[in-house]
Every structure is written in C-alpha cells, then in structure tokens.
Symmetry: C2
C-alpha cells in the first residue's frame, strides 16, 4: 500500500536529527510553540505520555516513604540569595515579579527556578528534634529558568517537574536517600520508558549549585548524544547552615541536618522521543504509549465493511477487560475516512506499538495481520486468542525496545586512551567515549572547549582501570563518560 | 479516659469559627503560612486530601471526553488586554514579571490568573474547520490572584486548580458542556466529599468577567455561610471574537466558535473542613480521608502488649486486601509512645472516620471497640469479620455524612418574603435565605451593602414561585438564594 505524503514530510532522521525531532513533536501534536518566548504548550498526546511517567514515578516516590506537598511559586529575593553558590548558579536565569495587585513590591519575588531556598527557610520551624527526621517531601510543580536557546520539551523557560527535598540527621542517611532518588529515576527510565541509563557522579563543574555532589543517570539518544535523565543531589549542610536549620539530636547536641534534592522533568518526554524514534516517527514503549494498539479496518464494499465491523466488534468485546503492565489496554479502532495507507503512516508517526489490520479475507479466516511498529514485522494473528496474548506481546515489545536501545548504546560506546583518538572517534562516530581523566577541572574544561564534549558522569558501574589523563597524563583511577550532550 | 490538652487547644467552633478553622488547618498540619505574602504551604495531610478530590475529578473529566494539556504560566500583557471585561476583572489582581534572564522585558508578562486569554490566542491556529470541534481541553495548574485578605485554602494569592476550556460550533453545544462541567463538580462535591450543593445561575454581578453567564454550585458550611464549590462559564463568542478565532462550518460559512471554561480549586479542601468539622476538629468523608481507620492498641504490661500485637497482626493481615469505594483501605496502627487518650484526640482532630481500640480483654473475646468519628458511637466489633464489613461501614459513613450535611442545610434554609424578615432572619439565624428578587442589579447591591449577603445562585431546582422583590416590590419569578459567603 502506497505511503501518503504525510510521513515523508518529516525531516530525515539521519541527515537532520534536530529537524526530525521538531517535526515529530509538532506533527504528532505532542506540543507546540506558544506566544510566550521559550514556553511551550503541551498538547494531549504529549501530556498523556508525561502523565504516564509522572504517575509511575509518583508511585515509586510514595512507595519509598516520601509525601507530596506544595510550596509557593515565589521565592523572595533575600531567601534565594542566602546560599551563595546557589544564587550564583541560578540568578542569571531567574524571572522576577516586581509588581502585583497594582503596586510595586517592596521585595522582588523570583519565580522558583527550584525550591531549595524557600524550603530550607520553612522547615527550620518543623525540624526541632531528631524525631522530626528524616523529613521526606516531594513536590510536583512548574519552574522557570530563562533559557536563551530553547527546544520543545528539552529546554524550555518553564517546565513541569518533580522535586524531592529531604532532611536527615546524618550524612549517611542523606547519602542513602540520594541513592533512593537515583534508583527511582533509573527505574522509570529503564523499566517504564525502556531507556537504558548509565549511573554515576557528576564532575565538580557539572554539580548542582549549592550541592556537595550530584549523581545522575545519562541516556544515549538515537543521534548518539547524551541526555541527562535525572539528577539526585547531596546538599550536605549547605542550605541548613544558610537558613540556620538546627535540631536537637539524640546526644542532646544541636546540629544542622543534611539535605538532598532530586528532580525529573518533562524533558524526559523529549528523551523518550529521541531514544527510540526512527525515520517514520515515534516509537513508544508500551508502558507509556497513549495507545498500545490501533485497529485498522480494510474494506471496499459496504458488504465487506459490515463483515469487518462485526469481526472488530467481537474482538473489542474481548479487549475491554485486558489488563497490561501499565493498566487497562489502551486501544483505538480507526474508522476515520482516510485510506488504510494514510492510517498506517498516521499511527506509525505516533509510535503506537501494534497495528492490527483486518480485511474481509482476514475475517473469513478468523484472523488479522498484526504489525509491530519497532521493526514492522507482520504476522497473521488469530482474533480469538488475541486478547489473552496482548499483555505478553506488549511486555515482550517493551523488553525488545529496551534491548535495542542497550545494543545501540553499547555499539556506540568507545574506549579511548589518547586525546587524538578521542577527537578522531568523536568526530567520526560520536557516541559515548570512555576515557581516562585525572580529576582536574582544567583538563575537563579544555576538552569541552576544544571538542564540545563534557563529562557526563563518573560511572558507578565501570571497573577500576588505571590510566593516564587525556590532557596532562596524570594518573586516572577509572574511565569517565564523555559525550556531546543535550 | 481523660482527654489531653491537645484538642482543647483549638478554638471553640460555635464561638469563633474562623479561629477554629485556622487552628484545625494548622494543628492537623494540613497547611501552613509561608514566607511569601498570601501564599500557603500545603503539607502532606492537606495535599493527600487534595490529591483524592483531584484524582476523582480528573477521572470524571477524562470520562466525559476532555483531554489534559498544559499552557504557559505567563500571559503577555497584550493578550490579557484583548477581552475588555476580562482584563477589567482581573487586572487589579495580577502579578507581573518585568525582568527575566538579567534583562528588563520589552513586554510585561502576567502570571496567569486564569488562562482564557492565552488559550484563545493559541487555538485560533488549531480550529480551522467544524471537524476540529468540539475541542475539549483541561489544565491542572497553579494560578495567581493577588488578594488583599487571604485565608489558608479559601483565598490565597497562589492556588492550585483545574481549568477546563472548550470550544464548540454551536451555542447549544457549549451550553451542554457548561452543564457537563457543573455536573463534574456536583459529583465530586456530593458523591466524593459528601457536601450537598445547590446548583444554579449566578446573577450578572457575580458572573465571570468575560462570560455570558456563569453556573455554580453552592455549599453550606457549619457556620451556615455559603461557599462556592465550583463554577462553569458560558463564554459565548466573546474570547473567540477578541482573538478572532474562526472556523469554516458545514454550511461553508466562517463563524466564531462558542467557548466554555470551568474551574475547581484547592479551596475545596477548605470547604471539606468547614462542611463537616466539629468541636473536636476534622470530620472527613471516607472517600477523601488519607486514613480511613486508625487502630489504637491498649495495654499496660508487656504481656498484654504481646497479646494485643498478635491480635492486631492477625487483623491487619486481613485488612491488606480490602478494597473500598476509593481504592485500597487506608489504615494505620498507632504504636507511638503517646497515651491512648492522646491518640484518640490526635486522630479525632484529624477526622479519621473509624477508630478501633484493642485491649487485652478485647483480644480474649476476639473483638475490638469500633468508634465512629462523626457521632462517637461505640460498638464491639468482632475482629474476624471486620475486613469484610469495612467497605460497607465506610460507604454507610459516607452516606450518613452527606445526609447530616443535607439535614443541616435544610434546617438552616429559610424562605422569607419581606426585607424586614430577611434582615431579622439573617441576623438571628444566618443560613441560606430563599427570597424573591426582581432581577435588578441595584436591588441586589442594596441588599449586599446593607446586610453583607449576596445572591449565591438563582437555583435550578427551586420551583417557580411568583413573588415581589424584597427591595422594590417588582415581580419575581422565583426565589433566589441569598447568603453571607466565603
């Protein structure tokens, strides 16, 4: 069946990845530009994907003992300025409210770029004793960071996210929670979105402003660039000292608690697009797909239409009770006026995992043709058994998508030992470069300035492997992960 | 068992309702004040109640065909000013961003007080043909209205809400959607929060700025004042004309679509507190209660403790599979160090529907003492059958709470025919006053100025009943609902 012009109107993924990305986002109606500079509109198809990952993460966060709360959109300037590194990091990106209720405000209010500063100020009234700890809070909200160059989902002046904020009596307790946050993100990325990640620590230069250290997970996109898929920060006592939070410990000594914060944003919708999509558009993981199955009726005559409709009605009666790993089966029968070919392209562009084609000959033989979006394999599928099979087929698809992404990442991860090899590999192949680094910020900066690659993480899972720094030859304990990144 | 000082520390509900309200909100840790003028912090207990009503409303909104989307926090000044009544209504309450990214903005950005203006501007690109209609969208977000006098949950500079925005080819289609919105709110208020409501139309003076008409539901609080529990607006073609949205209709004529908008906010957490609470604190409807059952062990000796713990363990093993009308049973065993009396007060203050006391004598007889929060009735409850009974007991409690609120409203609703009677009744009893009104805004204003009561709604469900306007004696077709309101 001939393709329509529909799909060919998206940019070629291999030639123009950024153009392909924008085309996919706009033409699937996941999002659109808004009349406000740098701010996006999230449309139903994009918002449904966000809701899916948000709800899964929310379940994970609650299961690990955190409670949802809400803090104000505004952070008074004096509070934002209490933690010196923090204000230095965020001040250039802040949007300021200066007038409200018809008057000029006596103190400017920042639209929160993140909520550490106001939370520290407030919890000092709540944390009096070790009995008040740990304090495990999570916020779902919007934040604003005035970015110069914006990209739909990936970098927008306003975005939606979750920010967890926790306080602990000991540094060990806080460190454990940094790991809990990172595991929440690994789980949503890998198990829900089928995006494999590398876990590790950020270099000092990439650490959150005001944190002692930051952990992150990094994913590879289909253009072999890296995308940070979640960060978890050890704030130490920095904000607690700045806001003078003190508690009376079991030993009757007043101490500053240790804090953590971790966040995961609508950026991950962009990651889901770029980690799996292909030349025909989106390829969605079944767990997060707004539609998991689309049924396309095929007929020429009214008689055929009636027969096909009857078979589809009989099938959907069996589908309505089906439960998948992500809840009740989400399917749609496309009875629109368009041609079957147009419908195939339409739903392929939208990344629906399975398409079932049912025509008159299929009806006669009690089956349909089931097509997998990810590899377009086609097979006859008996309609009688389909409802019972679909949960397993979707689970297999989810696994296969994860494996495909993992294979892709492994095929595009290179160990390099010299700076010449580093530059040549980056130039020729891109991807993840595992290379020795002495730990010095100057070497890191030189590599970044000269190649555009940054240290994404110092991975937890890579083996100790002594080497010599790419730049100055000083000893390196283990390889770190370099890549060009979003 | 003696009460502790805990509960007596909240203000007397009958003497000082506002003080009682604030005490309940703060002492149950539902919310607290913030360092930002007029903005609140929603704490876990309050946020859990919000999540419960939010999720129920979200299910209702999706079931009726609306899709969730997100629009920017900012509305450029020029857009806000396009619809004349709208800007006049909201301008005095707007917070303005004037600086961002280290620069002064060329155009001020309003923090959205509501999103009609920006949505109208955007959808004009989406609505080209009658095939694009109806467009049924819903947003969950935060809005800012700079209020002079704020009250936790009831009136805050920033609040969380849902705003639906829909567009239709015909006025009839829009009118149908106004009704769908109002029914969503009636359903959540009555069926989920056990708060009976009066549905009706707002007077012109109380109509949303920019709407042709507004429908609302009004509830009676325990101090007999009214609270608007949700509004649904017919926007007509006002915003469509201001933004010049046009579509090609089936008859090949270009037309402006008809719009609706409707909203429901965190204010309803305040309504839930004030509609049901009593002198001991919160009384929560089981569907929205973060905990539906608290189990309080009673023991003096270690031996008793062991026996009670064993009985409770056996009980909770049966409770973990229990499903209620609002999901898995939410219960807690309170093993904290406090006295039983303290625990009773603590959980009564928090409005937990059922308390189960289990002491050594109860264990011996295989039962506990079950206490209903709303009326403190006590009865022995065999532990073996409790898990099976609880869903019905909670459903009965939910119904009883609704009936109690309905009885209270009916007992405090008065029909009056003269202005003298109106004033005397309002002074002596307060409550809802059903009175004749000619429809003239001047009469409405005089009553408001002189008594503080406003027309809450012109009810849908009250019978046609001719009368003479309280003020000028002109004909009135039916009684309207007056009350002092939040």
């Amino acid at each position: 069946m001939a393709k329509t012009g529909f799909v060919s109107s998206i940019a070629d993924q291999s030639e123009d990845f950024p153009g392909w990305y924008n085309d996919v986002v706009l033409k699937t109606e996941m999002a659109s530009y808004s009349p406000v500079r740098g701010c996006m509109i999230i449309r139903p198809y994009g918002y449904a994907i966000w809701e899916s990952m948000r709800d899964e993460l929310d379940r994970h966060i609650k299961r690990t003992g955190h409670q949802n709360v809400y803090f104000p959109l505004f952070v008074p300037r004096s509070l934002l300025e209490k933690e010196a590194e923090h204000v230095e990091g965020f001040n250039p990106q802040v949007a300021w409210v200066t007038h409200a209720g018809g008057e000029e405000l006596s103190e400017w209010l920042a639209i929160r770029p993140t909520s550490e500063a106001i939370i520290a100020e407030v919890v000092k009234d709540w944390i009096q004793s070790y009995r008040d700890l740990p304090l495990l809070m999570n916020l779902w909200n919007n934040v604003v960071r005035w970015e110069l160059r914006t990209r739909l989902f990936l970098r927008t002046a306003e975005f939606l996210w979750q920010e967890a904020h926790t306080f602990h009596a000991t540094e060990a307790g806080a460190a454990e929670n940094v790991a809990i946050g990172l595991e929440a993100y690994r789980s949503v990325s890998e198990d829900w979105l089928a995006i494999p990640v590398v876990r590790g620590r950020k270099s000092r230069a990439e650490t959150f402003p005001g944190a002692d250290y930051s952990h992150a997970i990094e994913a590879m996109m289909r253009d072999k660039r890296a995308l940070q898929a979640g960060t978890s920060h050890m704030l130490g006592q920095n904000f607690a000292k700045a806001a003078d939070i003190q508690f009376l410990d079991v030993d009757n000594v007043r101490k500053h608690p240790y804090g953590t914060s971790w966040g995961f944003s609508t950026r991950m919708v962009g990651a889901t697009i770029m980690a799996h999509g292909d030349e025909s558009g989106l390829v969605l993981p079944p767990n997060a797909a707004p539609k998991q199955l689309v049924i396309v009726p095929i007929f020429r005559t009214e008689e055929d239409r009636t027969a096909v409709a009857a078979a589809i009605d009989a099938l959907t009666a069996t589908l309505d009770g089906v439960t998948t790993a992500s809840g009740p089966l989400r399917y749609q029968v496309d009875w629109s006026d368009a041609s079957p070919g147009f419908k195939y392209s339409h739903w392929e562009l939208r990344g629906v995992p399975f398409r079932l084609e049912i025509g008159p000959r299929d009806v006669a033989s009690g089956q349909g043709v089931l097509v997998r979006r990810v590899d377009r394999t086609k097979e006859p599928a008996p309609l009688a058994g389909l409802a019972a099979e679909l949960p397993k087929r979707l689970a297999d698809y989810q696994k296969a998508l994860f494996q495909r992404a993992l294979d892709f990442r492994e095929a595009n991860t290179h160990s390099v030992d010299t700076y010449d090899d580093f530059k040549a590999t980056l130039e020729a192949d891109g991807g993840f470069l595992m290379a020795p680094w002495c730990g010095d910020a100057a070497c890191e900066k030189q590599i970044n300035d000269e190649t555009g690659a940054t240290i994404r993480v110092i991975p937890f899972d890579s083996p100790d492997e002594a080497g010599k720094c790419l730049i100055d030859g000083r000893p390196s304990e283990r390889r770190v992960l370099f890549a060009k990144a979003y």
